[in-house]
Symmetry: C2
Subunit: 498 residues, 2 copies
Amino acid sequence: MTVNEALKQIEQFENTNSALNHAAGILYYDGDTVAPEGSVEIRALTLGEISRMSYELITAPRFIEALEVLNANSDSLSEIDRRKVSELYREYDNTRKIPMQEMIDFQVHLTESSSVWHKAKENNDYASFEPYLQKTFDTLKRFASYTDPDKDPYEVCLDKYERGLTVEKCDLFFAALREKLVPLIERVCKAEQIDDSKLKLNYPKAQQEKFTDYLVDVMDIDRKHFGVGETEHPFTINFTSKDVRITTHYYEDNLASSLYSVVHECGHALYELNSMPELFRTTLEGGVSMAIHESQSRFYENIIGRSKIFCALILPFLKKEFPEQLSGVSEDEFYRMINRSEPSLIRTEADELTYSLHVMVRYELEKKMMAGEITAKELPAEWNRLYKEYLGVDVPDDKHGVLQDSHWSNANIGYFPSYALGSAYGAQLLEEMKKDVDVEAAVKSGKLTAINDWLRERIWKFGCLYDPTDLFNMVCGEFDPDVYVAYLDKKFSEVYGI
Amino acid sequence: MTVNEALKQIEQFENTNSALNHAAGILYYDGDTVAPEGSVEIRALTLGEISRMSYELITAPRFIEALEVLNANSDSLSEIDRRKVSELYREYDNTRKIPMQEMIDFQVHLTESSSVWHKAKENNDYASFEPYLQKTFDTLKRFASYTDPDKDPYEVCLDKYERGLTVEKCDLFFAALREKLVPLIERVCKAEQIDDSKLKLNYPKAQQEKFTDYLVDVMDIDRKHFGVGETEHPFTINFTSKDVRITTHYYEDNLASSLYSVVHECGHALYELNSMPELFRTTLEGGVSMAIHESQSRFYENIIGRSKIFCALILPFLKKEFPEQLSGVSEDEFYRMINRSEPSLIRTEADELTYSLHVMVRYELEKKMMAGEITAKELPAEWNRLYKEYLGVDVPDDKHGVLQDSHWSNANIGYFPSYALGSAYGAQLLEEMKKDVDVEAAVKSGKLTAINDWLRERIWKFGCLYDPTDLFNMVCGEFDPDVYVAYLDKKFSEVYGI
């Protein structure tokens, strides 16, 4: 096989791989947004088949031969092709170590697991979900023993979402965060609490939908390749950079919920929409890791979206749509209501300051589950114990506790630390960005174009071309969680006048 | 290969084939309901890849070997397996005669064609759609020359939707219909016209949606496996019998439009939902042909849905939702408004009596296009000429003319005659059904269960087990269009008091 033939082979692989991913993604999206309840069985079977096809695709002898030819001639390849080959080889190597039937069965299991979780959450019925969750953890452990027998299985999970992330790094990061944030949170708790009851009045869905539309305009998203759906748990999904969807959940008694989940998911969407055209439909298209992804989404959600200037920007629109509910609310009051901080039960509704503590609970639990120190049966009690310890709150039931997130039902174990890491990355991104962009003026203009342009050129366009840590270092230098802590300290000291 | 090994091979083929069809179907459904406009390109590429995989699947040497082994041992097979083998062999034989790349290219073309048609219809811009349509006809002609070089290419198309249907049969059927219906329509036109303006008042979408829900209840559809979406042009799509979707289009100035498209599509859906479990995920699952399909959908839409007793059933619900709009309307008035007959422009909005004339226009045009007697450029003028000749109406623009239906944009050429044939089948079904079921009492009960049960046992459950003509004959004996004409004559003579 010549290098050119091998490159052709890789191209055909990527076309088929992209089609299978696209199909699986649409099935998932449809399943979560509009599919009837009884469609789970056939969707699981189809996704199982697709996963079989993916397995056969990446372990096909002709494909492997092409990879080997290109590996041997990597000097003659372009930077993109070289990276492609090494990424594909890694994927192939991970796949081939897992028996095909186990991979297919796991895919079928996950489709069912996701459906069981939805119902379990709705009915506050953890017992029905427990065996699925145990099986998910057990399977991930077994898969890790196939792919990396000498490695801590939880580290195998972490590495999947953030290459190079280790338990040691996480432990250090979270310890530093806890040490510095807990005293700050205590100071905030002692200060006079902000009354945000006006955000909890009745906000009809129809107007909230209009507001979503407005936010998409502000974020300067190309609607030709973007859509918004509704699900229990908001998420972003992309079918190449040409078709990216976000979802949200409207609560009529909570204005901030959909607002900030839309801004958050739009951050993910912008990243996915802006890979450079050379990466279209290839393995290198799209976000490189979850921490980089969350650094984008949480940057827009919190650093931009919960800033004074953004609050001032959106208030007039909100006052027009909800004149009674927001009557008499000043810019400053609105900003303070939006940033009210209080240890609470639900991660996705948590304020910027206490958010990382929610992540730490999940991190500790995942670590224990993967180490076999606790079982799925013991998870709810452990969850509740840690919420009391870290956040000081009593969990009333599993719906508001261990069942709240969709991640575990989809086997996204090792993902949560990315939220905290991404949040911390965001603070450093802001510092860098300020050197080139007048961020306040950009927000004030009503279109985040200048901010988007800066991030596109430094992060988005590269897709998976660089390892996440390298990419972050290229833009921000060394990672330093103190920048994040300082940012939070300054912001919340001001908000609470402490 | 032993018979058992061959059967295993067929089973694996059917699993993969079902998954590919499911994926392609969901992509299409998503594309028509919620996908962003700019997603067409990647969807076309993905559907092209799926069609390549389907092609490779059905032409795989191991699969063909299995078919041959089973063919040689067909005596030892169950009825279902025997039928499967002959159907799969036919499909394989048709597929292999068409070069793979041409098949893929056509799939890509159709995804674009569908998107171009949507825009063309919206903007009344036939010129933009014309080259796509010409290419569709040209390709179907070429494909017919590959698969059946000695056959009239239009007959190849007809046979795809209704096995055994020929131009001669269609010509005879339509001639008989025209001969007998045109005088009836003329008599109706001379009678005093029914004022149905109350159906054209403002009917807000939110209440129409509630009404759709109510209709699904009346039709006794299993919601666990059924969903309703919104599209420009209503359709039914199924992903095995476990997941069937219909779509509708709400017009706020037209109560009857969504009402009868929902009832119509629910007829299709019931057929698809009720294949017997043994056929799940196999080639034999689902409706056997379009005429049998339309005989179900148009039976529910017209024979049941536009009957006096059905109108009486739904009126109270409608009066509750739309008290002002329908104030003072009696059962009899409502029934007559619903059955107002008048030659018009839009097929899907046409009344039961003049409907077949719309179909005949399309039949004549398809015949001419496939024979090369006219080109896509000449289609609009021919369309308008035939509407004047058959229905006596002037077509104001292509949006209300040649661009109105989605069928041609999806290459569904040869489909339209099924609507008229299915309508005629329906009249005979009613006669047969009446021997076993008190149809009026069944409707009056508010749930169509007894009617559904009768159709399930005689038609639905068999899936594709029998050829459509055989199936019809098993249930109704010989086909006799006069039964249909007599039904229409009786109904409309009474409605118009002539």
